[in-house]
Symmetry: C2
């Protein structure tokens, strides 16, 4: 019943990029809706043992088939080796709360539709697992669905890239890294790859020109090699390809000229993670704990999935509690300050908000993000509010609207990977809420 799209979904743990090519919305698909696919109601992994048709395993790929995937995204630790992002041992600093009752009934028109939809309806339309809205730093809205709860951690998917990109930009800001240097200057092992001639700036903004297809429909697409290399399980008999993320990155070849066009490729984030680890002596999980997570008053440790030699998946392996993601978003909205500390330099936040090369971005053809750009692994809308985003497949999102003084963090398990599937609902909904908060603060 769900077979048609099961293959792309199955592998997306390892690629987790936005499938710009896909424009289908969930409504056009054979997938059951959010209520029918509710992972709590389906009873995944409940029972001792669970019924055979409710067991989710990593090795057989069942973990990423819809609707089982709706359980998996809240339970990667049960499926794979992971590495911790410690919050430290101090007391969490609770988020202030000022819950509003005017949000659920807010209405908007989804892109391409004529029918209004309420905010509340949008949650199910997007297979939301959890959503928190902060206004001026206070929680004004918070909901959990399915198997996610405030004590849970959820896959951030490619939101990971923005977290890693922020750390990269911080290291540029403090002089540890030079954005104009070539990648090969930091990681000589990449001398025979496309990254040899790319600058760190091009990697941060994904204007590298790489022969790296994330077209899951093509069995020869490079994304499959990347996935196999990063898979922490033993490789199949006879496999002779790269064994790890780092080995794979050395094989990526150029296609065109760096610096001309935006090209959203997960491997850029993996390369950035490698540069960070090489220069700081700490991998992205360790550095994230030290530089940010321990300073947020976070409620929970977060974690990264790892490959067979313990390399955190910088392109998409981050998992965290929803409220802690909200703390991170608020830190960004607040010019890098949080709990009275300047955690991210203001210059880094300003640089992200100012955005990247719009002309380069336009060449990539994101219809729903026209006029946008990409900077330090953040998506910048350049809309009237100056909103910018972290985006991950299946609907993961951090949405920061400076003018509305609003941060939205959402975890979701949409059956369709590409954000183009949920953007027609997501973008108007988030913009409508921003308007409401501006009009009625």
């Amino acid at each position: 019943m769900f077979k048609r799209l099961s293959r792309p979904a199955r592998i997306c743990l390892f690629c987790l990029s936005t499938l710009a090519a896909s424009v289908a919305s969930a409504a056009d698909t054979p997938y059951p809706d959010a209520a029918a696919s509710d992972p709590a109601k389906m009873g995944w992994m409940v029972g001792a043992p669970p019924p055979p048709d409710r067991i989710i395993r990593f090795a057989d790929g069942s973990y990423f088939k819809f609707p089982a995937m709706r359980w998996s995204v809240s339970n990667f630790r049960q499926l794979m080796p992971t590495t911790n992002v410690s919050r430290g041992l101090g007391a969490p600093v609770p988020l202030a709360r000022a819950l509003r009752t005017d949000i659920d009934q807010l209405t908007f028109i989804p892109t391409g539709s004529t029918e209004p939809m309420t905010w509340e309806q949008s949650l199910a339309a997007n297979y939301t697992d959890g959503i928190v809205v902060l206004h001026r730093g206070k929680v004004v809205y918070e909901r959990y669905f399915g198997v996610l709860n405030p004590e849970g951690e959820h896959a951030a998917m490619s939101v990971t890239k923005s977290v890693v990109g922020t750390m990269g930009a911080m290291l540029v800001a403090d002089g540890t890294l030079d954005a104009n240097k070539k990648i090969v200057d930091y990681v000589p092992e990449l001398a025979n790859s496309a990254f040899a001639t790319a600058t760190l700036r091009q990697v941060l903004d994904m204007t590298t020109a790489l022969k790296f297809s994330e077209d899951y429909a093509d069995p020869k697409a490079e994304v499959w090699q990347h996935a196999m290399a990063g898979n922490p399980l033993p490789k199949p008999a006879g496999y002779t390809g790269p064994q790890t993320y780092m080995e794979y990155l050395q094989t990526v070849q150029p296609l065109g000229e760096h610096g001309k066009a935006f090209g959203y490729k997960t491997v850029n984030s993996d390369v950035l993670g490698w540069v960070i680890a090489r220069v700081t002596g700490r991998n992205v999980a360790q550095l994230l704990s030290e530089k940010i997570w321990q300073r947020l008053g976070a409620e929970q440790d977060a974690y990264f999935t790892v490959d067979s030699i313990g390399t955190p998946f910088a392109g998409g392996g981050f998992n965290a509690g929803l409220r802690d993601m909200a703390r991170f978003g608020e830190l960004m909205r607040n010019d890098g300050q949080y709990l009275g500390q300047q955690i991210v330099p203001k210059a880094v936040v300003d640089d992200i908000r100012a955005g990247g090369d719009k002309a380069a971005f336009a060449k990539a053809g994101y219809d729903q993000l026209k006029g946008g750009s990409y900077r330090n692994m953040w998506w910048v809308t350049h809309n009237a509010d100056g909103a910018y985003m972290a985006r991950g497949v299946y609907g993961q999102r951090i949405y920061i609207d400076p003018k509305a003084e609003m941060v939205i963090v959402r975890f979701a398990s949409n059956p369709i990977a590409s954000n183009s599937a949920n953007d027609p609902v997501t973008i108007p909904a988030f913009e409508a809420l921003a308007k409401q908060l501006i009009a009625h603060p």
Copy 2:
């Protein structure tokens, strides 16, 4: 160089029982000492990538070869799938501190020796990774070595059994379980196994009579089948045996008559975990969080390793922060009370302290624990102080001395699995400290 004992060590993740047969001490072996095998100095998994001879993997068994094992026991999450034991989201309650300076130079005579040893020397002799001593609930001593620190989690090995046994006894105390009932009454799937005719009490006290050898030197020992069944990795081609812990438990056959002799067999704890999960609808990780870990003011989430269908390894898969283990030990010392709550019924603690069947225990021939007994998966010394213990291979220990009002928790990575290797140092050291605290409170 370390090959001689590498095979037993390699598999002990999955069995983790005390090898009563082994009486060798580390001093008799070819192993490097604690300083020479310091996992921080060895640089395991440091570098991007780490040097080939410093990479530790799960699949190839390198993770449990000494001295790599000294890193692995603090990093199981990086090696395997795990399931969380949430501490909740509240503020940790710091342990009160009253550090003493009279402990390091305390002397004692190791069993079988004539040379005195200082407490400080005992730490290295036992390959200690971390140790906390509480006196009257306050931290009087705390040390970390190698790659463990207060923010880390360490494998508890068979200390897990005492944690699970405590939960089992709690469920007996509140009437959820009946200790006189047969295991098959709770888990009908065990009808054709040795457990069919065993009572829950016999399982809790390990007086079952099972054809289950934990003799690692014997390739046909049942412990290997148990290990293979519980291994979360895909099974080798052609493997037709049990796929999970639960499937394996159904194959365990009787050997002798239940109730006559103590027989320390890991599978009893796995069966108890299954009974708990079946009756409560929550696995041991979920129940531990709910019943205990969320009520301790714990600093960190803990976790269990899991098999391929997510079953927590109740016989030895628990990992936690050292201070949180100390909180758990103090809870037991304090008649089940902690932070003003009665978390474990006093009757359960009294029952453990009173101990099990001494005659049955004597038949098992633990030379260094003469006069002892085993109750609800705790080791009871019946010494003058009424001390009782949780014990795990490679030196894991919770030692509770009611008379001295002392709790010692220790994580270690002794090259020799059996506690009989470290008991000659451990037991006199702990008893000497108890005397000191009684004499000079």
